[in-house]
Amino acid sequence: MKRTYEKPIFLEQNVGFANKFQSGYYEKMTTKIDGVPVKDIMDNFGSPVFVFSEKTIRETIRKYNRAFKTYYPKIVFAWSYKTNYLGAICSVLHTEGSIAEVVSEFEYEKARNIGVSGDRIIFNGPYKRSGILKQAVEENAIINIDNFDEIYRIEEIALQLNKKIDVGIRINMNSGIYPQWTRFGFNYESGQAFSAAKRIAKSENLNLNGIHCHMGTYIVTTKAYMVETVKLVEFMKILEHQLEVDIEYLDLGGGFPSKNRLKGVYLPPDFTAPTIEEYAKAIGETLLANVSPEKFPTVYLESGRSIIDESGYLLTSVTASKRLLDGRKTYILDAGVNFLFTTTWYDIPVKVGIEIEGPAEDVTLYGPLCMNIDVVRENVKLPPLSPGTPLVFNPVGAYCVTQWMQFIEYRPNVVMISESGEVEIIREAETLEDVIARERIPERLTKFEL
């Protein structure tokens, strides 16, 4: 192989590090995804490009189902659309038996459009527009009420439709984790949740049949889930005894961590986070120990990031390098925070997409946006990279392709590698037409001379 010229530099010696991992960057290479060369994908679908592995998604959801169902029989996974609502991704999960969990009019319509029937959609969220709420009621969606005003609105809809509607409520609680999310749902310990339940039970047109709680995200202790489950079961029993309602489901929300690296956490997640088996054991054993079999409720799990994160890759290219005044080496990539929203919390692991030799150096990775905040990685050890070198960010399957923005750049192709190794586009790169399709320029502004 022809060796490219690299300008000599002075490197600080990091003895311990170098000794243990040799030159460090051999680990930092991902040249193939599911057997398909990174280079080929970029040649065919451009740069940057998002890549999803169908195999990883299926293996993950199957593993999760196996883990949870062997601890508790009535587990149903509900795919949290906000985590990734690309049609193909949702469909893969629906073919694995997951139902849909949505939090807005758009997500509800998206799920319906993909082919999920209303009764297989869990409708959450602090604000559900009246139009879509009415449709959800008519289609017998599983609706979790967030606040008192929503109780009144839903009751109104029920009256209009002359129907008695099954509803659940979202509650929040102290399960020993920080921060405690108290802004969603009714608080448990203060008695607010019981008041809400009582109000619903008194209603002629509402029937309380479920309890929902989503404690937060990236929760790295199984203890929190034990506490959550105990409290939900306890609340279920209180409601059944005192209000004579029949609780048919408990929705434990999501929140299991992915293998991404939270900023400021030194050890990688394999060391800090429990395995999915451990979460399953904590939840399942708590349920088995506290509920008798005839009363087993259906348990929904809305796990998002933990299921999808690892299956997603962003392939991007180095476009230029620049040494800053302080001597630090930086690279400018063709993808930035516009597509990697999760860099806000994560130091997303990045690897080189082709084989490269040379000593690794601490560098900073910038995106292409003409904005100071566009920093993809503050600090990462990489070998010398010449323009055109592909870089692979992974995991990026969660939240990136939903929270990405069309700012300055067109959003790129998203492809999926099927189980048999074919690479298919699941979302085409945007063009000018896509971006301006909804714009209207008033007639009087169409003519100008400069």
Partner: protein, 673 residues
């Protein structure tokens, strides 16, 4: 119905006889009303003995005041005898009274009146047989015998009865012929007088015996036919003997040979093989057979059923008569492990117990019962080694009230939850899967045994309410190696939706393309306390068995909205999973007319000549499709497809049935609040 009308007509061919019969029934009914303090049930079958006695007097004496009093007296006597005999027989046996009261009373009446010279002033002239067509005597003999059942010597009555039999039931018709000629030929051979043979009216006994045994009291089958014909043969002796005996007193034998023979043969059959007997008599023998085949194939319990002892998907690594350890006394055992997509039982290193998916997973009670014995302190083996001393390892032994013990073995040390004496329910956690005892890698072993000790033999069993890894649901399944099974737990919501309560009313519109009408369906309890849907004269019985809602019996007109329900929805598993299941229907629900009756006659010889399965599949959580295919000799002779939508509150919202090119739409009419 038709039979009744024809018999009435037949009787009225002779007015005197008919009138006497009516007087007898009237008397018996009146007597019942007078003697019974409150309004009671109506038992039409208590009146045919008085009717027969009335008729028997009618053929002998002209109606007059004296005759009238005689009928009165004997009808009451017969009725009393009927009720008493019925009660006695019912108490000690399951035998019917047949026409015994008639034989006893009529014989006594005939004997008693021999001395009543006043009555003989009214004696009827002897009727000579009336024929119309010049048919050979051996053909006429059959019709005369049929007529003689109702004391008629007019061959027309024989024609009518024969026709009525043919319309009512082909099986009965064929048996009447087979019975008659078997009896007649044998008797003729013995008596060396074939011509007179065909003039002996008492041969109707052969006909009745063949029909009663071959098709009424036994379910039509090769066995019932054979028993019937042997009974006819045997009755030759009874008939001959009684004839000779009764002749001394100028008495006819009436139906005495029939009564004696039938009672003995059906009693015998019920002792020898209870599965031959008819338990509920439906419209005709064909319907009995249809119902019996379907009921047996759908519900018959072969072995005890228990639930799977775990949650989630487990693989059977060794089943009954397994090659490794399930042998001899212990041949009915089943071992379960957990495997992943690569058919591996562990992730990571194979030497670490904790890496096995099965290890430490909850073990659930497969039955409800009391815990008899618990072992909880045997160390779990390292992977690959076994403990031959305590070969069951840690286990729980539970007693089931059905009369057997269930043993769940190789549990994790210290994981067993219930104590000896505790009552556990199905699905309750009793411990965790471990690797104790004769177990090289973590697995659950389960067996049923007849007693508490190790040397009590194991018994065969099935698992109930399970799904395999292709989403097929089984109400019961016999475990086999490599099956991947999951216990199916019910959905609370669907159980609520299918909880139909007494008095519930539901309104539906039914549109078959030509006409549209509304029907109201009510949930009622029948006189035995069984739940059913009622719509007009139609009744559709339902039950929730474990996690399955199912219909099991339909009574009513050939066309009713309830019959469509049964056809479209034989059963529904009430669970969250989108499963595939199969069921079967009686032909009565799927077919009509000739084809149905034709198949049933064939099925009386060989059940499996036809089948009538329904393949069902959830297409959404609240939607499913069913496809009923009727096959004769593997050829499709009927097909009905239905799409069903479950109502969000109660029962069914919509059914669309596609049958023979026509489409029937059934829609729930929204009730007003």
């Amino acid at each position: 119905m038709i039979l009744g009308v024809l018999i009435a007509v037949a009787t009225f061919v002779d007015l005197n006889t008919g009138l006497c019969g009516i007087i007898a029934i009237g008397t018996a009914a009146l007597f019942r009303i007078i003697t019974k303090p409150s309004k009671g049930g109506y038992h039409p079958f208590d009146y045919y003995n008085p009717l027969l006695v009335g008729l028997s007097i009618g053929v002998r004496f002209k109606l007059s005041l004296l005759t009238f009093i005689l009928i009165l007296a004997s009808a009451i006597l017969t009725y009393v005898l009927t009720v008493v005999l019925k009660n006695l027989l019912g108490k000690y046996t399951a035998l019917p009274v047949l026409s015994l009261p008639f034989v006893i009373v009529s014989s006594m009446v005939y004997l008693a009146t021999l001395r009543s010279s006043n009555l003989f002033a009214n004696v009827l002239i002897y009727h000579s047989p009336v024929t119309y067509f010049d048919l050979p005597i051996w053909i006429n003999g059959y019709f005369f015998s049929l007529g003689a059942i109702f004391f008629s010597k007019n061959i027309i009555v024989g024609y009518l009865i024969s026709g009525a039999l043919l319309i009512h039931s082909r099986i009965m018709f064929f048996l009447s012929i087979a019975g008659y000629y078997t009896g007649a030929l044998v008797t003729g051979e013995f008596n060396a007088a074939h011509t007179t043979t065909y003039q002996d009216m008492n041969y109707f006994n052969y006909i009745l015996i063949a029909i009663a045994i071959g098709s009424i009291y036994l379910i039509p089958s090769i066995k019932s036919y054979v028993i019937a014909l042997f009974a006819v043969l045997g009755s030759y002796v009874v008939l001959g003997a009684t004839e000779v005996l009764f002749q001394n007193f100028s008495l006819p034998v009436f139906t005495l040979p029939f009564n004696i023979t039938v009672l003995f043969f059906i009693y015998y059959s019920s002792i020898i093989n209870s599965r031959l007997s008819t338990y509920t008599y439906l419209k005709n023998p064909e319907s009995n057979l249809d119902y019996h085949i379907n009921y047996t194939k759908r519900f018959e319990l072969t072995f005890p059923g228990i639930a799977l002892p775990f949650s989630g998907e487990w693989t059977i690594s060794q089943a009954f008569n397994g090659l490794i350890t399930h042998k001899g006394l212990w041949r009915y055992g089943v071992d379960f492990v957990i495997e992943d997509e690569q058919n591996q039982q562990f992730s990571g290193s194979a030497d670490v117990l904790k890496n096995y998916y099965a290890f430490s997973k909850p073990v659930l009670s497969p039955i409800a019962g009391n815990v008899v014995e618990v072992i909880n302190n045997i160390e779990d083996n390292a992977v690959g080694s076994i403990n031959r001393e305590d070969n069951w390892g840690n286990y729980v032994l539970i007693y089931d009230l059905r009369g057997f013990y269930v043993k769940v073995c190789h549990l994790e040390m210290g994981s067993v939850i219930p104590a000896t004496g505790a009552y556990v329910t199905v699905g309750q956690k009793i411990g965790c899967c471990g690797n104790s005892g004769y177990s090289p890698t973590p697995h659950i072993h389960i067996q049923l045994q007849t007693g508490v000790n190790n040397n009590h033999p194991t018994i065969e069993f099935q698992f109930e309410q399970v799904a395999d890894n292709n989403s097929n649901f089984f109400n019961r399944i016999t475990p086999e190696k490599d099956m991947v099974l999951t216990p199916v737990f019910s959905s609370k919501k669907k159980k609520r939706i299918f909880e139909l309560l007494l008095g519930d009313l539901m309104e539906f519109s039914i549109d078959d393309g030509n006409s549209k009408k509304n029907e109201t369906i009510e949930v009622i309890l029948d006189e035995n306390g069984a739940s059913c849907l009622k719509c007009g004269a139609a009744l559709l019985y339902f039950e929730v068995h474990k996690n399955v809602f199912r219909f099991y019996k339909y009574f009513g007109p050939t066309s009713s909205i309830l019959k469509y329900f049964f056809h479209a929805i034989p059963s529904i598993p009430l669970c969250d999973n989108n499963l595939i299941w199969t069921d079967r229907l009686s032909l009565n629900i799927s077919l009509r007319g000739f084809m149905k009756n034709f198949i049933l006659i064939l099925q009386s010889f060989y059940w499996d000549i036809a089948d009538n399965n329904v393949n069902c599949k959830f297409t959404g959580n609240y939607k499913f499709e069913t496809h009923n295919i009727t096959r004769l000799l593997s050829r499709e002779v009927g097909s009905t497809k239905s799409e069903v939508k479950i109502h969000d509150k109660k029962f069914i919202e919509h059914i669309r049935i596609q049958k023979n090119g026509s489409i029937i739409n059934i829609n729930r009419i929204k009730e007003k609040n």
